[in-house]
Amino acid sequence: MKILVIEDEPEMLALIKQFLESENYVVEEACCFDSGMDKIVSYDYDCILLDIMLPNGNGLDLLQKLKSLEKADSVIIISAKDSLDDKVRGLDLGADDYLAKPFHLAELNARIKSVIRRKKSDGRKMLEFLNVKINLEERLVLINEQPVELNRKEFDILIFLLMNKNRIASKSAIAENIWGDYMDQSDDFDFIYSQIKNLRKKLRDFDAKIDIGSVYGMGYKLISKNNT
């Protein structure tokens, strides 16, 4: 999987690169409009992370160029400007997603995965981990081939944790992902716990080989029982 990160902030660029490499992606970087343009024109990527505020140009122009070349690269716009206009314009121009800074790396990870998955609609609708199978289209969860009933939020939490397996997903990242943008200001994320508790119980009841571990002070983490 090859990902191009176009971002003018060197620290941010290095950070995203480090993170994505740890997720086993091949990461290319561009730090300004021109080098971004060069790479877009010359190579194909599975996903492009595009900062729209760049020195020497607007990221949206890059997006336009990309679409005019009829390339199939998925694009996720990342922007410090949480502006609705930019979001609408970006999505109109064919971006696949829009993420406002600051974001959680776990959220970025989940978005990249779902964007890539959406593009590769070649039967990879199933997410599989140990004895847990998830059909994303039908929102169906099978543990040991047995269907498990999960409500919408439990399902979404499971997907989010699964996409970020082996990482800690902070409570606020989960709240933002499942409950929406404004929930991150609700200051008290303990309400997530009741959903987690139910989900955990269901996983245990069906003898899933995965479990949700609590990381004190941070959030939750999907762990495989094989290791423990």
Binding site: A80, K81, P102, H104, K153, M183, Q185, S194, Y216, M218
Partner: protein
């Protein structure tokens, strides 16, 4: 006291004084002239009388003013020679009228043809100065009234017209709001002083607006510039927390730092949102149904409220519609509902009431009544809510202000926030 009345008061006092002084002067002048005329008449009469009397032999003495208007008594030569014609005011008793009356008295002396000396006193007709004063006073009263009325009229017409630009300027300053950036001053005027005043005020306002804008710009820029380093900080810590070999306690500490940064970040987002609202960057308006919004939002918050065992009651007589930006309506409702849940007590209640003209959100709470004055100010929060940004209600207020809504707070044991259209 209004300027017009002020000048009017001064003008009328001056008028009254001038008119009275003038009346006194006029009266003395008139009286002097009148007496002179009367005296002249007396002198003529005296000559006629003496001509008539001096040949009578002997001259008939007359002791009182009766049918004649003179008295005559004989005097010795020495006395008669030193008598000069004198005129004076005197009171004479009239038996006929049975009263004393004012008159002029001429005292003179003459020698008759028989060589005897006589003194003669002649009086004029009655001088009715009281009647004169009365007449004078009445006409002066009318004069004063006339002058007063005309000065009132002149004041009203001329002054009002003259000061019109001033009052317009006052109204303009009254209506002026720094954040609205309306700078064109009212009507042009030809009066130099007002032109100067207009210019000075324009300069003053311009510099104020410039300062205000640069402050606002500063806050916006600062918030923007903060976003990236904040994002980097949070993300680096998230990566760090995921590294192997960290103790539970270390991860918890990192979690604490992330939490603080996150709070900073949401504060930042709120500040940016506030400045966007105030800059009117949410333009698109549509007819928003608050019933729909409130049911979506209560559903969104259901996990949060269930966790805190808070019941959300929903009453609606009629749907409440208002033409505004949909996003802002969402944020407005969300902030109010969130507040109502967040500042509630465990097992409390939130009641959302919607009618055709307004909606209200009331909640139970252990917190006492809040100060209505400061409630909607930025960063006005009570100590208990250390986790909130202190901007929620400021955002609510800002949204109401730009959307033609009015938000009010009341307390009856429960905290009640009501939102209604500003037109009603």
């Amino acid at each position: 006291m209004k300027l017009i009345n002020h000048t009017l008061l001064f003008l009328s006092v001056t008028l009254l004084l001038t008119v009275s002084l003038w009346a006194a002067l006029f009266y003395t002048q008139l009286m002097t002239h009148f007496k002179a005329t009367v005296d002249e008449g007396l002198a003529n009469y005296k000559i006629v009388l003496i001509d008539k009397l001096k040949d009578e032999n002997p001259v008939k003495k007359q002791n009182v003013f009766a049918e004649n208007i003179y008295i005559i008594r004989s005097v010795n030569e020495d006395y008669a020679l030193q008598v000069r014609d004198t005129y004076k005011d005197t009171l004479v008793y009239s038996a006929m009228k049975n009263k004393n009356y004012h008159t002029r008295l001429l005292t003179t002396a003459f020698v008759a043809t028989d060589g005897k000396y006589y003194e003669m006193k002649v009086i004029s007709q009655e001088l009715d100065d009281r009647k004169l004063i009365e007449k004078l006073a009445t006409s002066l009263f009318w004069l004063f009234l006339l002058l007063f009325i005309s000065s009132v009229l002149v004041n009203n017409f001329v002054l009002k017209k003259t000061w019109k630009p001033f009052y317009e300027l006052l109204k303009y300053l009254n209506d002026f709001r720094l954040e609205k950036n309306r700078l064109h001053l009212p009507t042009k005027t030809k009066i130099q002083e007002f032109i100067l005043l207009n210019n000075s005020i324009q300069t003053l306002l311009k510099s104020n607006v410039a300062v205000y804008n640069s402050q606002k710009q500063f806050i916006e820029n600062a918030s923007h510039e903060l976003q990236t380093p904040l994002a980097i900080g949070i993300n680096k810590l998230e990566l760090l927390a995921g590294e192997n070999g960290l103790s539970q306690e270390q991860v918890a500490r990192i979690g604490n730092i992330i939490e603080s940064l996150q709070r900073l970040s949401s504060l930042n987002k709120s500040l940016l949102l506030l400045s966007k609202i105030e800059n009117k960057q949410f333009k698109a308006a549509e007819n928003v149904n608050f019933n729909e919004i409130s049911s979506t939002i209560t559903a969104d918050f259901s996990d949060f409220s269930e966790y805190r065992k808070i019941k959300i009651k929903y009453q609606s007589d009629d749907p409440f519609h208002h033409c505004m930006n949909k996003n802002l309506a969402d944020i407005l409702m969300m902030n109010l509902v969130k507040n109502a849940i967040f500042h509630n007590r465990q097992g409390g209640e939130v009641v959302i009431h919607i009618s055709a003209t307004c909606f209200s959100i009331e909640n139970t709470s252990d917190e006492p009544e809040m100060d209505t004055e400061k409630l909607f100010e930025r960063f006005n929060q009570n100590a208990k809510s250390k986790n909130s940004t202190g901007l929620g209600l400021a955002i609510v207020k800002a949204i109401s202000d730009v959307s033609g809504l009015v938000v009010t707070y009341s307390y009856n044991g429960r905290h009640i926030f009501s939102v209604g259209s500003a037109d009603q």
